[in-house]
């Protein structure tokens, strides 16, 4: 019970690492900075493993396990509904899954960074921010009330900002950091109001209290819908869903390990985690659930189409991340929280791997990110190629790989789950086809065909060991990380879902998942059926089309693009959404800021007041100084005038009193 009794210990490790590197790292040698950065996260991972071991021995009635450390905010203690926030952490099955994912992927990415960032300046800063991020992310997933969760939520946003703008001398990077921060802030506005509404309704912000109350006497559906929609607004911002997804592709300006850790594996999934965590509320608000599912499905499809025409290897992955997050929300929205969380975990493995492998490609190409200038890298960087291919097979949903199990479960739930919706399912399946196509397009453009770069200038080389080993470990999990759910294929119980069921059972209102129609069929038939479902067919189809277009007939893509010039231009320019946002929101805001707030309020009102006060003092001073004429007799006269005036005043007052 060592770690369970001291949950704060898990948080303290990365925080200490961040503090040490931030304060002293500048003067330390590279090796020391690396050891502190990687060491603190590795220890935290070991602590999490020990936590899981202890958690497994807990009796069921002790879950969720809550550690309450101190009262942080206490207000209105004498009123009927005091506002009280404790700094408290909790562990339940969902937390365990998230903690393991975050700590494990985080640790690998820290290892990888020691290689990737070896030639960069300021790595002490990098590792300090990265450790700080781990601290906030684990605070987010371990929080026992909404306010502590919000601290983690904002903290990861801060670290995201700092790390996107890590190369702050580059203007695009600094701008991208600001954009990420401001756009997510729009969502956080809704999230904060949602938290206030939760307190207004339940008079408590602690998860345990809220869920107990909602089970005992649920409030009206209307207020629950409002709460859920507001909370989901926060998730839209954080997890880059329509219409606030625009910051995520720009966030690729950050170093690639940052993209892998923050903008693929962990931070952007915080929104999904939050929806899953609040599942008792969402499950009782069907309209909000439908909104979650629609936003998820539409985003999954929409950003997959953008991914088709991107040429920057990291941008493809960024839109792919937006799309996969959409699948997670689709899963949550149709009530399959376990499937959504499961996809979150497998996605952390394969998308983290894809980004790290892309980083390895960029590293090998000496900084080139444009896929049109790559090609034929298959034999030159075999480890990167192999691991990236595994991740691509996983994300495309080819049977046997992790993504297949999780995506299949989500689509299954969208088709035949309790809140099934055939249109959302169709969107999801079409998105899966596009996903498979653009991911294999990426693979074929990068690793196949003839080199399209100058072979005399670019010396392609495989990455060092500390980069390739994390790739191989993640590749292992990209294959086998999905097998927890394997029994699902043959109609059995999904281990993952079973493990999480205590957290999500409150949400399903005790409605058991409907028995699948094939329950009577034989085991083998079910397996065959699952392996030949539509999602698998479209995944293979996407692979074949990509192969046909980019390996077999390399001239074909251009012809296709030419024949659909308008559509291609539209997609290539990402539907001009950034331009539209600029025209509709950014420009008017800048105009108002410049002309009203800057020239009007700041220069006119504030400067006017300050300068006016100065001018009044100066003008009156220059008038008054002429009294000092140097003529002593005029002074004497003034003294007399003063004395007479004072006397008159006193007499008047005296007369007034009597």
């Amino acid at each position: 019970m060592l770690v369970l009794n001291h949950l704060w210990f898990i948080l303290a490790l990365p925080l200490a690492g961040a503090a040490i590197n931030g304060l002293f790292g500048k003067r330390w040698p590279q090796a020391a900075v690396n050891s502190v950065g990687v060491g603190s996260v590795s220890l935290a991972f070991l602590a999490v493993v020990e936590l899981v071991r202890e958690f497994a021995q807990l009796p069921a009635d002790k879950i969720p396990w809550v550690g309450n450390y101190f009262t942080w905010i206490s207000s209105g203690a004498s009123t009927a509904h005091p506002f009280r926030v404790d700094f408290s952490l909790q562990v339940d099955q969902l937390t365990v899954v998230m903690l393991l994912t975050v700590a494990f992927v985080g640790m690998l990415i820290h290892f990888y960074s020691t290689g990737y960032m070896a030639h960069e300046g300021g790595t002490y800063r990098f590792f300090s921010y990265l450790n700080l991020f781990m601290f906030f992310m684990m605070t987010l997933v371990m929080a026992a009330n909404l306010i502590v969760m919000f601290v983690g939520w904002e903290g990861v946003g801060l670290c995201s900002y700092l790390l996107i703008g890590f190369w702050f001398l580059k203007k695009t990077a600094a701008d991208a950091g600001k954009k990420a921060f401001i756009v997510t802030r729009l969502g956080d506005f809704g999230f904060t109001i949602g938290i206030l509404l939760v307190f207004w309704t339940f008079h408590s912000l602690t998860f345990g209290n809220i869920f107990a109350q909602i089970a005992a006497n649920p409030p009206e559906t209307g207020i629950l819908t409002a709460i859920c929609l507001l909370l989901f607004t926060g998730a839209i911002g954080k997890s880059a869903q329509l219409p606030l997804y625009v910051w995520l592709p720009d966030a690729m300006e950050g170093p690639t390990p940052v993209s892998a850790l923050i903008h693929a594996a962990t931070m952007v999934t915080a929104g999904v985690y939050m929806v899953a965590r609040m599942n008792p509320l969402f499950s009782r608000a069907p309209i909000a659930m439908l909104a979650v599912a629609i936003v998820g499905a539409v985003t999954a499809f929409y950003s997959a189409t953008i991914g088709l025409a991107q040429t920057d290897i990291k941008k493809v992955l960024a839109y792919s991340t937006v799309s996969q997050l959409g699948y997670m929300f689709l899963g949550c929205g149709v009530g399959a929280y376990a499937a959504g969380t499961f996809h979150l975990m497998t996605h952390a493995f394969f998308k983290g791997l894809l980004f790290l492998a892309a980083g390895s490609v960029i590293h090998a190409m000496g900084g080139e990110q444009d896929m049109r200038k790559m090609g034929g890298l298959r034999n030159k960087i075999p480890v990167t190629y192999g691991t990236m291919l595994i991740a691509t097979l996983a994300i495309a949903g080819i049977p046997g790989f992790a993504g297949f199990f999780s995506k299949d479960e989500i689509l299954e739930a969208a088709k035949s789950g309790p809140n099934a919706n055939v249109w959302l399912w169709l969107l999801g399946v079409t998105g899966a086809l596009l996903t498979s196509f653009y991911m294999f397009r990426l693979i074929f453009l990068t690793f196949f065909g003839k080199p399209r770069y100058d072979e005399r200038k670019v010396h392609v080389h495989e990455s060092p060991r500390n980069m390739t080993v994390p790739l191989m470990i993640l590749a292992f999990f990209s294959i086998f990380g999905g097998w927890f759910a394997a029994p699902h294929l043959v109609g059995g119980t999904d281990y993952f879902e079973k493990f999480l069921s205590p957290v999500f059972s409150a949400g399903t209102n005790g409605v058991a998942a409907p028995e699948s129609a094939e329950a009577s069929a034989t085991l083998g038939m079910q397996l065959v059926h699952a392996l030949t479902g539509l999602p698998v067919i479209v995944a293979v189809l996407g692979l074949l089309v990509a192969w046909w277009m980019y390996v077999r007939n390399p001239k074909l893509p251009k012809r296709v693009a030419d024949s659909m010039r308008g559509l291609y231009t539209l997609i290539y320019n990402k539907y001009y959404v950034d331009e539209i946002y600029t025209a509709v929101f950014v420009r008017p805001l800048l105009w108002i800021s410049t002309n009203v707030f800057w020239h009007g309020v700041d220069e006119g009102l504030i400067d006017g007041t300050v300068n006016g006060a100065g001018r009044v003092a100066r003008e009156s001073g220059s008038r008054l100084r002429e009294l000092q004429s140097g003529n002593a007799r005029s002074y004497a006269a003034w003294v007399v005038v003063g004395a007479v005036g004072f006397t008159v005043l006193l007499l008047a007052l005296w007369a007034g009193v009597h």
């Binding site: 002429e626 004429s629 140097g630 003529n631 007799r633 004497a636 006269a637 007399v640």
Partner: protein, 102 residues
């Protein structure tokens, strides 16, 4: 007791003070201005003494002694300044001593 009423003393004091003020403002000779100040001080002294006598209290008399002491000190310093001015400017006209200004 069949004494002179206090109002007589006060009226006299006011007349003396008024004369002092007028001389103080209109005269140009520094020595004369000085004398006007002495006149005003002594007009006030008269009023103090009259009040002290009328109310049978010592406070007014003590104040008069203070005024006399301060007047003596002021005369000493003031005359020293006058001598310095005469040395530097060869004049006693206060209109000519006007350099300290804005």
């Amino acid at each position: 007791m069949n004494a002179v009423p206090i109002s007589y003393y006060l009226v006299l004091s006011a007349i003396l003070f008024g004369l002092g003020v007028v001389a103080f403002v209109f005269k140009r000779n520094i020595i004369t201005i000085f004398m006007a100040i002495e006149l005003m001080l002594n007009a006030v002294n008269l009023a103090f003494v009259a009040f002290a006598r009328s109310f049978n209290q010592l406070d007014g008399l003590i104040f008069v002694f203070f005024v006399i002491v301060v007047a003596a000190a002021e005369a000493a310093v003031g005359l020293a300044i006058v001598i310095a001015i005469v040395h530097n400017r060869q004049t006693l006209n206060i209109e000519r001593v006007n350099l300290l200004k804005f």
